[in-house]
Structure formats: C-alpha cells, structure tokens
C-alpha cells in the first residue's frame, strides 16, 4: 500500500448511508452522510460520490492527488437484510438435506413463515448421507436420489445441509461437485455458514442460497460505481462479526453481510477511541444500540438469532437496542418509543418545528453537538417558553439517562471498570457521567463510526466443531486453528499476519467418550 493510498468505508444503515475516507495512516480525511434511499443502491452511490468529492478537495489541498489513490472500498450494507424482510429479489432454492433416515421427523423449513418459504423454496428433500457424532457415515451418498430431486425442481441455487458437517464436510463437498458438474447451479454448503444445530444451520444455508442474486446486484452496483469514477480500488464487503470479505467470498456467503452494521459501529468505536474493552452506545435517530467490545471485537450473542422470522445459529454482535434516539418524541410522562425519524430537521423545536424531541430535551440540558450553532437560542426563543415545557424536557432527560444506565447495567455484567464510548449522530444526548462505567469517551468522527469500522476491518475465518477431549485434543485444536486461519486467508487476510482471536471450548454431556465443542476464530489485516 503506497503512502498516499486511501480507503473508503461505506455503511448503508436504516436511516443514513455514511461514507468515510481514511488515509494510509488511518486518519479520517473526509466523511459524508446521505439519506438511505428506498432503492438502496442510489443512496450508496450518492454517499460514495459525496465522500469522494470531499476527499478530492481535501487531498488536493494537502497534496497533488487524484481519486485514483483510493485502493480499497469497504461496504457494509443492509441489502441482504432488506431482501429477506421484504421478500424481494430472493432466488429460488432447492433445499437438500443429507441425513435420511435420520432427521426426517422435522423436514426442512418446518418453522419458516409461509410467505418466505413460498418465496424461497423450489422444493425440499431429505436424502441419504451425513455422519454420526463419532464420524461414521449415517449412510452413503445416493447420487441417484439427488438427481431425481434436482430433475424435478426449477431452482436458481441449491442449499446442502449434511448432518454433522461442521465435523465432517465430505458429503456436502461431494454434492457441490455433482451439482456444479451436472446442473451448473451455485451451491450453498452448510459447513461454510453455520455451526452445530441442524435446523438453524440449514435455515441460514437456505437464506444464503436465496441471496446470491442480491449479492450479485450489490457487487455489480459497487463495481459500477467505482468504474464510473475511474477508481481502480479493490472492493470488500463487511460481515456480521466486524470483519471483511472479498467480493468473491461475499458472492459465496452473502448471508454473512446481515448484521454488519452494529458490528462496524462497534469496531469503529474501538478504533476511533483507541479503547479495546468498552461498552459502546450508538445513538441514532430512533434507537440506541448498546454493545460490548472485548479485545477490540464485538462480544457475540449466545442466543439464537432470528432473521425475517427464521431462527439461525449465526454469530451476531450481542446488541441491546432501546427506544431512545435524537428524534424520540417527548411527552408529559416520558420519552418515545415513537420518533420523528428523518423528519427531525423539520419537526424538532431546535429546528423551529412543533414537536418536543429528545434532541430538544438534551439541548435544554446543555448537551449540544459540536455543530449546533443557534440550537439553544431557537429553543429559548420558540413559541412555547413555558415552565411546563422546560419541566417536561427536564423530566425527559432524567428518564432517558435512567434508560441508558439500566441498559448499560444489563450489558456490563457486573463490571463497572470499563469506559463507555459514545458514537452515532445522537451521541450528544448521553450525559457526561453514567452509572456503571468508568468514564464516557466521545471520539472524533463518532457520527460516522460505522463507516470507519467498515474501512478499518480485518478479514477473518472461523471453525466450529466437536473434538475428542482425550489425548488427541491438543492436536485436534491445532488443526482447527489452522483451518480457521486458512479461512481468514481465503477471506482476504494477509497469511503472514493472521492471528487466532477467539478460542472457546465447551465440554459436552451424555457422551461415552469425553468430547468438547470448539469454536475458533482467526483474523488478520487485509493482504497488500
């Protein structure tokens, strides 16, 4: 990477699309915020254009440079989430499970909402294959049965889930080869997507296969936007654990982009504040997301994650969302949960509007953002200057501070020695001191922390499997580590700088041979 090379991070959120430009020394040299448009791609281009326009000015001021120095563009986007929630642009998936005669008591997609199943499923089959917990085959693969199923369906992609594939992926790989050779369809393999827990992993694998078209659309939009500007930059997509993947990798694993927003915001907060262990509060217009940073990475949720009404065993950041944002409506008895949302610039009192919002309450309490010239004045000179209004705003601040303190307590798990990093456009709402944290840190560029998080992200890989707990354990764990590192490199990491960042062992009960479930995650900076 040359010294003058730049990186662009873009985060497509529910309300805004943010973009930042970082220089080779990781300094933020430009940033832009644009509304997220219903056709997400247009908003993406607008934010990219705005950030690049700004950076050209900045860079031209600083040194003779052109946008050609942008070497990487990292995108975090809600395209996949929206496609599932709205049941739009989803591909038709042939759902194949390898495990018969086991697993037939609960066929694939049993727990899916009927409309999503209708939109996604081209047909479902449980055919022989899969493995026992001890590694034996439940049954040999039956290519004839697989062909009979695939001959009878019209599908855009195939999702293959084999019993215990996180421990033995042989059958899934064999099916991928067969389908690629004979049908030419893309194949989602469950062991690349989820961990143990057949139904949840299968659900995520089917969603993944349904998102291939969406992934292609995003990739194309990004590549087109870059080409239009004559940028010769390598694009990456952000995934749910706060790390990046190459477009080739994203094309295989589009479902991994779901939940990248909160992960980016947490990683961005860690980077901007320089604090690796902290509570992070990302205050938006409608809600505040609280998460926890441990060693610079988001703490992950142990509970199953639901996407569009479907349970998956995805690893997602552990996020607690509370209905408190800059646009939250203030009334006599409290705050929200409704918000004026993007209309805040017209409706809030400080902007000359007629709705008392949390932004007004914060300003009345002397909490203002850096660029808030005239806000307090407009509030004081507004049509309603009554004691009643001031009382109400004051009460709202107390209620809001209580909500934040309670949420912090829920996330902090008894530890009060960590700082709270306040990010997001509404970070100014938060008080200077909060019970349960050592101090409140307000880093610069906090309002675009999510886009910064995308720009600085690492590439990662993970492995989740069952291993013997006996003497062969340590060797088996070494192998799992190597596999995770290999996956990180496949996702774009520099082979020389990959590290194991997470290793969790959980002992299993009711087995004759002692066994442990092992989860390994490796991550590293992008290869140059």
């Amino acid at each position: 990477m040359s010294e003058r090379s730049l990186r662009v991070g873009i985060d497509v959120g529910g309300t805004n699309t943010d973009a930042v430009v970082l220089d080779a020394a990781d300094r933020v040299v430009a940033k832009a915020k644009r509304p997220t448009t219903p056709e997400v791609t247009a908003g993406l281009r607008a934010a990219l254009d705005a950030a690049l326009d700004a950076v050209i000015d900045v860079v031209i001021d600083a040194a003779p440079a052109r946008s050609g120095h942008v070497t990487r563009v990292m995108l975090g986007t809600t395209h996949a989430t929206n496609a599932i929630l709205e049941r739009r642009n989803l591909g038709r998936v042939a759902v194949l499970r390898l495990g018969a005669p086991a697993t037939t008591s609960v066929p694939p997609l049993s727990d899916w909402p009927a409309d999503l199943r209708k939109a996604v499923s081209a047909g479902e089959a449980v055919v022989p294959g899969g493995h026992y917990v001890d590694g034996r085959e439940i049954g040999p693969l039956d290519p004839g049965a697989i062909r009979r199923f695939l001959d009878g369906v019209e599908a855009d992609a195939v999702a293959v889930t084999s019993v215990f594939s996180p421990a033995n992926a042989e059958h899934e790989r064999a099916v991928e080869e067969l389908v690629g050779r004979e049908y030419g369809l893309p194949v989602s393999l469950s062991h690349e997507i989820g961990s143990l827990g057949l139904l949840e992993r299968e659900n995520a694998t089917v969603l993944n296969a349904a998102l291939y078209g969406v992934a292609a659309h995003v990739t194309e939009a990004l590549v087109t936007a870059l080409n239009e500007r004559g940028l010769d930059a390598t694009p990456y997509l952000a995934q749910n654990d706060g790390t990046l993947m190459t477009l080739e990798h994203a094309a295989r694993l589009p479902v991994s982009t779901i939940g990248s927003g909160p992960a980016n915001s947490l990683r961005g907060a860690a980077f901007l504040s320089g604090v690796g262990d902290a509570i992070v509060a990302d205050v938006g217009g409608t809600s505040t997301d609280l998460g926890v940073l441990a060693g610079g990475f988001p703490r992950e949720s142990a509970a199953a994650v639901e996407i569009g009404g479907v349970l998956t065993n995805f690893r997602m950041p552990d996020i607690l969302a509370i209905a408190l944002g800059g646009g939250s409506v203030v009334r006599g008895h409290g705050v929200g949960p409704d918000s004026v949302g993007y209309r805040i610039a017209e409706e809030a009192l400080v902007f000359g509007g007629a709705t008392a919002t949390m932004t007004d309450a914060a300003v009345a309490a002397g909490r203002t953002p850096p660029d808030a010239a005239g806000w307090a004045g407009r509030l004081a000179s507004g049509p309603d200057r009554s004691e009643g209004l001031l009382d109400m705003l004051q009460r709202a601040v107390a209620v809001a501070d209580g909500m934040v303190a309670d949420a912090v307590d829920r996330m902090a798990l008894g530890r009060a020695d960590r700082p709270l990093v306040a990010v997001g456009g509404g970070a100014f709402l938060l008080p200077p001191e909060i019970t349960g944290v050592s101090r409140v840190v307000r880093p610069g560029h906090a309002e675009v922390a999510n886009a910064v998080g995308a720009a600085i992200a690492l590439a990662s890989g993970r492995v989740d499997t069952i291993l013997p707990a006996g003497e062969s354990r340590s060797k088996a764990i070494e192998r799992a580590k190597e596999e995770a590192a290999g996956r990180a490199v496949a996702a774009g990491a520099d082979p020389g700088r990959v590290e194991i960042v997470d290793l969790v062992e959980v002992p299993l009960s009711y087995l004759s041979e002692p066994a442990v479930r092992v989860h390994v995650k490796a991550a590293g900076p992008l290869a140059r």
Binding site: S105, V133, L199, L508, S509
Partner: protein
C-alpha cells in the same frame, strides 16, 4: 380432549417449565409434534380411567446427548418400530403412548409419536418433571420390574434388552445409545393400564398445557405462572455467575443470582446437574430435589435451561412441590438429594420457604 396444532406451543412452554432446567430443548420436539399433527391429525389425550385394564401403555423417551439430537434430529420411523416390537412381544398392539418424562423435549415429542402411531396419548408421565437417569421414574419407585427395554435408532435398528434390574437397564441402554450414535428412542416399563394405576403420575400433560397457557395474554406472566404452579418465588434478580464443570458424563455447575428490586442485598445460588437440584441462600437451603426448581426470565416467564444460563440475565427462581410419590422413602432414595451426591436430608420446599404451597395437580395413587 385432543391435542391440536394450536396447543403445541403452550405444551412446549409448559414442558420447559417442568423441565427444571433440563430435559433438553423443546423446540425440535414441538416442530416434530406440529408436523405429525398436520399429517395425521390431532392426538386424543386420554386418562388412565378411559383405558381398558389390559390396554398396553408404552412409555417413550428419547435418550442421548442433547447436543447430538440438536444436530442429528430423530427419524420418523422409530416409534413404528418400537410399536411393532411391543406387539410381537405382547401379542397385541399398544393402546396408548405415554411420555416417560414430561419435563423438556420428552414432554412434547410424544405428541408426534402418538400422532404417527395413531394412538392416544395418556395424560400422565413417569416423573412429573425431568431427571437425568433412566431409573428415576415413578414406575421404578412403584416397584415395577425393570425387565424390558426396547430401543430403536435412526438407522432402523431395534434392540430389545431383558435386564436383570434397573442398574443393568441403565448400563445396557447407554451402551446401545452410544453405538447408535448417541441418540435413540426408548420404551421401558411397558405396562398395562391396570398396572399403571399408582405407578405413573397422572394429569401431567394437562398440567403442562395449563402451565404453558398461564403466561399467554397476561400483562404479568411471571405472577400468572407462579400462581398456576403454586410456587414460591425464591428470588428475583440478575445472574452474576455461572460456573460449569463436567464430571462423570454430566455437566455440573453453580448459578449465582443477586437480588434486584425488593430482593436487593440477597444472593441465591442454584446447584445444577443437567437439572436445577438445590437452591441455597446464606448457607440455608431454600429448595431441593425432588421438588421442582425452575429459573425463568423475569419479564416473559419463559423457562431458562441450565445450558442457556448466562451472566447478566434478569431471572426469577421458582420452586414448588414434587408429586408425593417422590416424597416416599423409595422415591427419595431414587431421586432425593443423596441420589445426586448431596449429603443432606430432604426437607419439603413448603417447609423451607414457608409458602402456602398448593398440592400439585394429578396426584398418583390416592
């Protein structure tokens, strides 16, 4: 009465509460039950008195490692194979299916098995809760011989064991289970309706349904659940520590709950071995096995399984009396504190908490 599609969710919730933290995840069993009802129709729920005295009751349960059955979900053929073997051995087909263990996954999955066999489900079980070991059932306490075990696995194998006693029954069944890939469907203590009187805990399916329904459509699910169970509320607070260790094939552990609100300043610890076994506060026992101790989410009153216990959760611990069968000398010997390695004499939960505990529904053998 019939168990319809719309009853499965409530039954699953109730079974989770009666699981006292163990018994396996109810979700897969509930999905199997829904699927079987859709395919074969609603399942008649019958009382013991509705069955002819010579009708064969087949107690069924899935055995094995929960992690395994979460991945290698059971097949659909296992119940038929066991029913066929019962008919071969007894010369007549089974008359009803019974849950061996109403707590957890084995409470809701029998709906799927009964539907598939087109048999009624007996409104009874062998525990009234969940227990970790095969001999911890009411049929054993009632003195019925543990001389027959029929197992079937996902591959289609059927294994019939004629053990000499309960200990061998457990030992051999475990060995078969491991060979079968650490999960199998098992029938033990196949008995006639006449024998079942006093040897099973009656009314427990109805009770699980009522427990599951208690939290529906109410603004205060926790209090509704407590009232339905006749439970004492041991503490409401925050989980501040969960310690786990594996010994002898079981996961043992300790969960610490620090009181919040009115309970601020109090600390309760719950000892776990797959199920919640003992609750202690300030060195004093507040409840102990075989009485039921369940940790529920304070807001939703949904039961939290022992493996789902996590630092920071807002929970309430409820405890209520077990079926009187477990309080007999043989019952306590089988599943009292000493059966789990605690050197202490059993004291009923109502004596420890001073709560005016209502008697449990469906008392056996009175």
């Amino acid at each position: 009465m019939k168990i319809e599609l719309g009853d499965v969710a409530a039954l699953a919730r109730g079974c989770a509460v009666l699981g006292t933290g163990g018994g396996g995840d109810v979700r897969t069993g509930a999905l199997a039950a829904k699927r079987a009802i859709q395919e074969y129709g609603a399942v008649p729920l019958v009382r013991l008195a509705d069955l002819p005295g010579d009708a064969l009751v087949v107690p069924l349960s899935g055995i094995g490692a929960p992690t395994v059955s979460h991945e290698m979900i059971p097949g659909e053929g296992e119940p038929e194979r066991i029913a066929e073997e019962v008919e071969r051995l007894f010369g007549r087909p089974p008359g009803a299916v019974m849950s061996s263990e109403i707590g957890g996954a084995n409470g809701v999955a029998p709906v799927a098995w009964a539907a598939r066999l087109r048999l009624p489900l007996l409104d009874a079980d062998g525990m009234g809760r969940a227990f970790p070991e095969v001999q911890m059932v009411s049929m054993y306490v009632a003195g019925l011989p543990a001389d027959l075990v029929i197992m079937s696995d996902v591959a289609g194998n059927v294994v019939t064991i004629r053990p000499v006693d309960g200990l061998w029954s457990e030992r051999l069944a475990r060995a078969v289970c491991v060979a079968a890939g650490s999960h199998a469907l098992m029938a033990d203590y196949v008995l006639t309706a006449e024998q079942a009187g006093g040897a099973v805990i009656e009314g427990t399916v109805t009770r699980a349904l009522a427990v599951g329904r208690a939290t529906e459509g109410t603004a205060e699910p926790l209090e509704a659940l407590r009232r339905e169970l006749g439970a004492a509320r041991l503490i409401t607070g925050k989980l501040t520590d969960v310690e786990r260790r594996t010994t002898g094939g079981f996961v043992r552990g300790t969960a610490t709950i620090e009181g919040t609100g009115d309970d601020r300043g109090r600390t309760l610890t719950v000892e776990l071995q797959n199920e919640n076994l003992v609750a202690v506060e300030d060195g004093r026992f507040r409840a102990m096995v075989p009485d039921l101790i369940t940790v529920v989410d304070t807001e939703t009153a949904i039961a939290v399984q022992t493996e789902g216990l996590r630092y920071g959760q807002r929970v309430t611990v409820l405890a209520w009396p077990c079926d009187p069968l477990w309080r007999t000398p043989k019952g306590l010997e089988t599943a009292g504190p000493r059966a789990f390695g605690y050197d202490l004499d059993y004291v009923p939960v109502e004596d420890l908490t001073g709560a005016p505990a209502e008697g449990p529904v469906g008392v056996a053998g009175e």
